[in-house]
């Protein structure tokens, strides 16, 4: 590890998404995003993106409402996992070891200061394509689906949170993540933070929840190989009656090419493409955007749509 714990976590592994309309949500992820089903258990369906080396990418769980369940973060080694467990425990945010996910080994459960559940783990089951249905190239997890948005992998999670400074401290001290960009309002408050644990420019994002509610989700994002995949996905969403919130367009912050839609369960899903952008600098100076800069909208001048600031899941009464 680096002295600050950076690299103790390797990447975001998978995420649990709650939906009140599980069949419709499953159809969205399979038929329109291009994922495949790899298993079922209880009210959950396990879904896999074609180039994820692990058994599942999304655990879609039928529930009374929408929102996000546990986020799984894979450690870089068993030793790195031990270091992170100790660090999180020291912050009083550890909840202990569990073994409740069939495709994962022992998971150390913890929560961020906003109450979102996070599972840290090392042991994981590899994805195996069905017999006779594997890809032609052996350096690829599964066949290319040729379906809908053809998402390649989970990219990042953007949570809503109330106490952003406390969350930032947890990300830095507990998880060993590093800040790459943030928004600071004129009153001095930091309203959104982008942290990375990999060479991607962000993996875990938190935006201030204007309702003051804990534990909610802003969006889950999946990476496509090209910007053209995202343009194509917009056509797919349009013709399948999926609500397009905004995009395709390019963010000023992080410069991601994006499309935001609401899956049938109400959760905001982003399709994103970073081009060749990586934050490789080990001493990257975080970029701070002012309130005025933020107000200018997206990279090419698109005004940020109002619902982007207000919609989160589950909905607040």
């Amino acid at each position: 590890m680096d002295s600050d714990g950076f690299r103790d976590l390797a990447h975001v592994g998978s995420v649990e998404i709650f939906t009140p309309v599980p069949d419709q949500s499953r159809s969205f992820f399979v038929d329109l995003l291009g994922m495949s089903e790899t298993g079922r258990q209880g009210d959950s369906v396990y879904l896999h993106a074609w180039d994820d080396y692990e058994k599942f990418t999304v655990k879609l769980t039928g529930s009374g409402t929408s929102g996000i369940g546990r986020t799984y973060l894979r450690a870089s080694s068993p030793e790195a996992l031990s270091r992170r467990v100790a660090a999180v425990d020291k912050l009083g945010l550890g909840r202990g070891w569990v073994k409740d996910e069939p495709a994962l080994g022992d998971v150390y459960l913890c929560v961020d200061p906003d109450g979102h559940e996070i599972g840290l783990y090392w042991d994981t089951e590899r994805f195996q394509p069905p017999a006779g249905k594997g890809p032609s190239l052996k350096n690829q997890a599964d066949r290319f689906p040729g379906r809908g948005a053809n998402i390649r992998r989970l990219d990042h999670v953007n949570y809503l949170g109330v106490d952003i400074p406390a969350i930032g401290d947890f990300l830095r001290t507990g998880l060993g993540a590093r800040l790459t960009e943030q928004i600071q309002l004129d009153n001095g408050n930091v309203s959104a933070i982008w942290y990375h644990i990999s060479d991607k420019s962000y993996d875990l994002v938190y935006t201030n929840d204007w309702t003051g509610t804990n534990g909610r989700l802003h969006h889950v994002a999946f990476a496509t190989d090209t910007r053209d995949d995202i343009l194509r996905a917009a056509d797919v969403m349009l013709d399948n009656g999926i609500h397009i919130e905004t995009g395709p367009h390019k963010h000023a912050i992080q410069q991601t090419f994006f499309l935001y839609v609401y899956e049938p369960g109400g959760n905001r899903i982003e399709l994103c493409n970073a081009g060749a952008r990586l934050v490789l600098a080990p001493d990257w100076a975080p970029v701070t955007w002012t309130q005025a800069e933020r107000a200018k909208g997206q990279a090419w001048g698109l005004k940020t749509i109002e619902s982007f600031h207000t919609h989160g899941t589950p909905p607040v009464g």
Copy 2:
């Protein structure tokens, strides 16, 4: 019409393709190219590309072998159709009127000097999407499929032929087509001709059949909206065991971005994209490529693969 009959024909309407393995070929066109089935009759399945305004784009017919059946060319008006019928008849290549295609009106049947059947027509049935399954935008024929290569429309047909000069005369005098590019060998023989009837730079292509056999097919081509669609299609073909003959790459002649595959019945299928290229000049001077220029290969230096010069359908004993 122009004095040479140019514009009497509006566009290539549809084409019949023969296959000895109809179920596998149908799966190729539907699952991998993204077409939809719009009807069946006898041994034929009618297939539709998502932005074709007519009822069908391909008539796929089970048969003892592979190859091409009738090509349908739509006239620009009833009067234009009459002019073309008279011109073809004068060449002794007319075969009379038939009414044997449910989605078309009266068809004037003729043959090119190589024996390929061509049907000229005006009346045609419009494509109607299934109830409740139409596209979101009303200036589009059908929903965007989000499947495989997502081909938009039939683009051109490339026939094999024996007497290229005679064929060129038929295209010019009979059909009112115009030459845009050709290959002329060192011995003076023209070995390949590209004619257009629309603003596209070619619609009907003939290449010399080295076997001396009449009536064969080099390939049928379908247009995608982007080059990226073609790159994606290559991944789809690879993972579905379809033989990729050559590409994706860019032709020097006509500058088309291409991918050639063999559908399960053995017929060569091209996916093509022309970018914004159109031949709008009404007095376009045909471009003649020499044998030496042809030998240089494709636009970016790719050598032309041997089978491209030899494979045609049906196979010759």
Copy 3:
């Protein structure tokens, strides 16, 4: 010709654009759009897009204000030109023959009912690249620039006009153009019309001028080969301080992928890509969009920006 004169005109040839800041505008067209300078005369600079077969694509003229000058439309043949001259003359909109453009032959000058000047012509000078600077492929007019937006050719002109029905009559009867799409307001008024003279789905567009002023311009559009070229162009515009009005995004009407910017002289310029979309049907039923449909915004849900309805050139006092 068809009985309605369709096809008597082959394509939009070139357009004159006025600018109060000629040097800055020239830099925009050359450095940012990728055009090249092919001549100068008086206050005008002639600019060429890399795949235009004619000598010039844009005539950029220094002037007291912005706006559009003459639009040149090339006929399909000398006979077709005569027919159009007679038809326009019959409408009382002809202004007689002139020979005032070095790279063109005799030009028949006319005006649309809104006063925009239109020049009809047959004789034209071919573009010749500078010696030793020609393209590698001989079916291409000039070298690929590898600069800025790399626009391939002029695509269409969108005028502002006051009496839309009268203009539509002129386009149909005078020019032999055909309507493909239109907007009809709840009060029955048609507020915008898209006509084509080629296989492209539109070449000449008129939008109602809310100021009631005659002779103004909404925008001039240039085609790129790919949607990715347009995304790239947005980056180029952003980093060169060019005002991006809206886009990149996809229109619902005509489904064009677009980017609108203001060149330094104030004229709105569109970069557009139609994918493989063509209107090949000779009996295309015009698509009418209602006021409510228009209010829904662009294809993927983007609200139409206010200035798109109000900004025209030259500005109105």
Copy 4:
């Protein structure tokens, strides 16, 4: 660090390239790849890719012949640098500290077992755009060039080497790099190895030098944001007389979309795009390709061109 030293090195920083025709090579890198000049010293020109946070990306040095000079690898921290210096020193491959590169601090010089010079460093000068010429978005190093291939950053270096196993040991033990893919011939010899130090699937590649010569270069690779950028680059290379060796196409190994050209000095340059592919698994099992698999050619069936196996720089007598 991980126990194997992985992550002690953050990324490939820059590379020195030798050329016998420095002016022509500079023009290639600046005009055709889209780099900018940031300084000169002696026979060297410093060149910068638009999103490199460091002062230079390539040091282009006039020389009697072609080939590769020093490769600079940036450490993850001062402590990580110390660990790597100790590890390399232990292998007897250290050459001591130097301070001879203006934009870098102290550099620890070493050689791989094949004699290629490698400089390890921590201190580095940040790129600063010229006053008034900076980018619009402050999370980007320089303006987007809008020129030629628009390469974003240095991606990887592929060396030729004689004793591949010894080199692999150096990469693993000395540099803390990890193997992701390799080719193993039927005789058991490993002929090519792909190692990564970042989340990219490879950063340092070695291919067996069939001539048995030490210290040569196979190619230096630069990343573009999109595959379309690479297709565009092929047009740029074609029209500027640059030798295209092979591509654009997609590798089976590592699945990179590629274009290989020879810059005027003779060095092979790759333009590459990986889509969203990253090797995030901390326990990635290296993929081994057999001689038979290698013989199948590239991903979509393109046969590997002969010169790809034989051409290296400097040329061997």
